[in-house]
């Protein structure tokens, strides 16, 4: 009597584990292959059948990336553009999220939604012409301003969700006691919504860091961000796989680390704050 259900449960668990394995392994295998390519020399990378485990692993590809390219310059460009766009996005977007949440203004929220829908290229054509007109094409400033298209909507959207969950009673009390709306925001709502600020900053950082097309169009030879630099410079100057994989890994490493370290915040932002109600 006891046997059959127990056996079925074991079989069920095994099936579950197997389907979980099938589901998750492609996600990790692509990155492991990226790592493997980056740690092998050219002969091993083009061997067939492929060599999976680097033996012995070499760091030559990484040395190559730094020695033969301006990798550090592109890295710095990415930091400036993404860091700047996230900072400005927070300065502008956090108060906006608060105002929209408190005023319950659907119109602003809708505007943000439209920004999410619009193809990036539709910002690029006009901004490209304007930047050309005022001589900003190919500058970090132009890229930073354009990246606001990414960071501001994400941060506003996430913050609306968080401020809506900050109870209004506390601020009401302060307002009635003579505080200004700004003080209510600054001293009551803002500290309570700090987790939301972190979520908004992380998400907007990732999407700005990963952005490719803005830098393809607006970036100059020395002002490119990493994604377009790796595409333009490395792909054409080096056909060999090792350095390319090493560079790809370096580009995406900050984001992958964030994904693992800040998993909880990202999940919260994407599933709750970032997408609002059901």
């Amino acid at each position: 009597m006891m046997r059959a259900p127990k056996l079925r449960r074991i079989a069920g668990n095994a099936g579950f584990a197997l389907s979980l394995f099938v589901l998750v392994s492609p996600a990790i295998l692509v990155f492991l292959w990226m790592l493997s390519l980056s740690l092998k020399n050219d002969a091993d990378n083009t061997a067939f059948p492929p060599i999976f485990i680097p033996d012995p692993p070499t760091l030559d590809n990484f040395r190559d990336v730094f020695a033969k390219n301006n990798f550090l310059l592109y890295f710095w460009n990415s930091i400036l553009v993404t860091g700047g766009a996230v900072l400005v996005g927070l300065l502008v977007g956090v108060p906006a999220g608060y105002g929209i949440a408190r005023a319950k203004s659907a119109k602003f929220a809708f505007l943000i939604l439209i920004a999410r829908i619009t193809p990036a290229l539709s910002y690029l054509i006009p901004l490209f012409l304007v930047f050309q007109l005022i001589g900003l094409n190919g500058t970090i400033t132009a890229l930073l301003v354009t990246h606001l298209v990414i960071t501001v909507p994400i941060i506003v959207w996430v913050m609306i969700g968080y401020f809506e969950n900050v109870p209004m009673e506390l601020e009401d009390a302060a307002l009635v006691d003579g505080a200004s709306p700004w003080q209510g925001f600054r001293h009551i709502a803002l500290p309570l919504a700090r987790p939301g600020i972190i979520v908004g900053a992380i998400l907007s950082f990732i999407f700005s860091w990963n952005n490719f097309i803005f830098s393809v169009v607006l970036g100059g030879k020395t002002t490119r961000t990493l994604p377009s630099a790796i595409y333009n410079v490395l792909t054409f100057e080096q056909i060999s796989w090792g350095p390319l994989a090493a560079a790809a890994l370096l580009v995406t490493l900050p984001v992958l680390l964030l994904t693992v370290v800040a998993q909880r915040q990202i999940v919260a932002g994407l599933s709750a704050g970032g997408l609002k109600d059901g």
């Binding site: 579950f16 389907s19 979980l20 589901l23 998750v24 996600a27 990790i28 692509v30 390519l37 083009t46 067939f48 492929p50 300065l91 502008v92 906006a96 105002g99 408190r102 005023a103 203004s105 602003f108 920004a115 999410r116 829908i117 619009t118 193809p119 990036a120 290229l121 539709s122 910002y123 054509i125 006009p126 490209f128 012409l129 304007v130 301003v145 501001v152 506003v156 009673e169 506390l170 009401d172 009390a173 302060a174 009635v176 006691d177 709306p181 990963n210 490719f212 097309i213 994604p227 595409y231 792909t235 994989a245 790809a248 995406t252 984001v255 992958l256 994904t259 998993q263 999940v267 994407l270």
Partner: protein
């Protein structure tokens, strides 16, 4: 900081009496001032989002010559666009790509969400790993995929040969390029669907399950008749976001095929990029953006409508 109790009583007073006797409540004045908080963001949005929009509309009526003037040509750009066979093919291709790149990740993502909703060892770590593809820099990943697709030296064809499947041309053949690009899309974006639906699953009530189990329902019945209807609004959000993103797909295709071989993977967005920044037909490209945007908005509204309906019915 003011304690909670005065707040409660004051609100109580305000809620009960329409005209408070002692001190008139000024809360509504404040509520009108809240829009001031949004002013900097509105300025930023006007500058980098609304202004480009209006400018695009204007430009779509112009014959724009790079570096030298423009002339008003009315609807001509649109008229040319709708007779441009390459554009019309790109539209059809984009819809085909989008249909696949929505349906497959949504189905897989719902399944993944149901799995990750269960308790099991290492769930947090496995979920982190599972979400890595959508967070990783698309260009970096696309370059690795390109190496994996290599017809002779690529690891994918080797893996297929291990299970006896003949080598594939992947992105190097017009007939397999779209399914291959969809495969990357599935790999990359199934996690987003999973996270959205997982959020929905976490908010489900327990009672219907308990009574259904008492009534002898099996796991499939529970999923089909309780979980799926309850979580359907979340699935529709996923469908909508996926549709918007799949229509706009750019990075993967641009890096891996640039729209090739030939024009076999040239979607609307790739076509748009080529017109704008390869051929510098900026007026024409602006008309294209307007049409592209209208397509996206109409589809989103349809899906939004479907979602509202599913909410009312639920």
């Amino acid at each position: 900081m003011a304690g909670p109790s005065p707040a409660m009583t004051r609100r109580g007073v305000k809620d009960v009496g329409a005209s408070p006797p002692t001190r008139p409540t000024t809360r509504y004045d404040f509520s009108r001032k809240y829009w001031l908080f949004a002013v900097p963001a509105v300025v930023a949005i006007l500058a980098v989002i609304v202004f480009p929009w209006l400018f695009t509309l204007y430009m779509s009526t112009q014959d724009w010559k790079i570096g030298g003037g423009s002339a008003f040509i009315g609807w001509s750009n649109y008229a040319i666009l709708f007779q441009d066979e390459r554009f019309l093919e790109a539209v059809g291709r984009t819809f085909w790509f989008t249909a696949l790149a929505v349906v497959l990740p949504v189905m897989l993502g719902v399944a993944a969400a149901v799995m990750f909703h269960r308790e099991f060892p290492f769930r947090g770590i496995l979920r982190s790993i599972f979400t890595m593809p959508m967070m990783a820099t698309p260009v970096a990943v696309a370059l690795v995929w390109t190496m994996m697709f290599h017809p002779q030296l690529g690891v994918l064809n080797y893996l297929l040969s291990l299970v006896g499947i003949p080598p594939q041309a992947w992105v190097y053949d017009p007939s397999t390029v779209i399914p291959t690009l969809v495969m990357i899309e599935v790999w990359q974006w199934t996690p987003l669907v999973m996270l959205i639906v997982l959020g929905g699953l976490a908010s489900l009530p327990r009672e219907p399950y308990e009574s259904a189990i008492i009534d002898g329902a099996n796991a499939w019945h529970l999923f089909r008749h309780i979980t799926l209807p309850l979580v359907w609004p979340y699935v529709m959000i996923a469908v909508m976001l996926r549709t918007i993103d799949a229509l706009k797909v750019f990075d993967n295709i641009f890096v891996i095929t640039q729209g090739g071989p030939g024009t076999a993977s040239e979607t609307m967005n790739i076509f748009l990029y080529l017109q704008a920044f390869q051929f510098y037909k900026l007026g024409y490209a602006s008309a294209l953006v307007v049409v592209f945007f209208i397509i996206i908005v109409v589809l989103s509204l349809l899906l939004l409508y479907a979602r509202q309906r599913s909410k009312w019915n639920a």
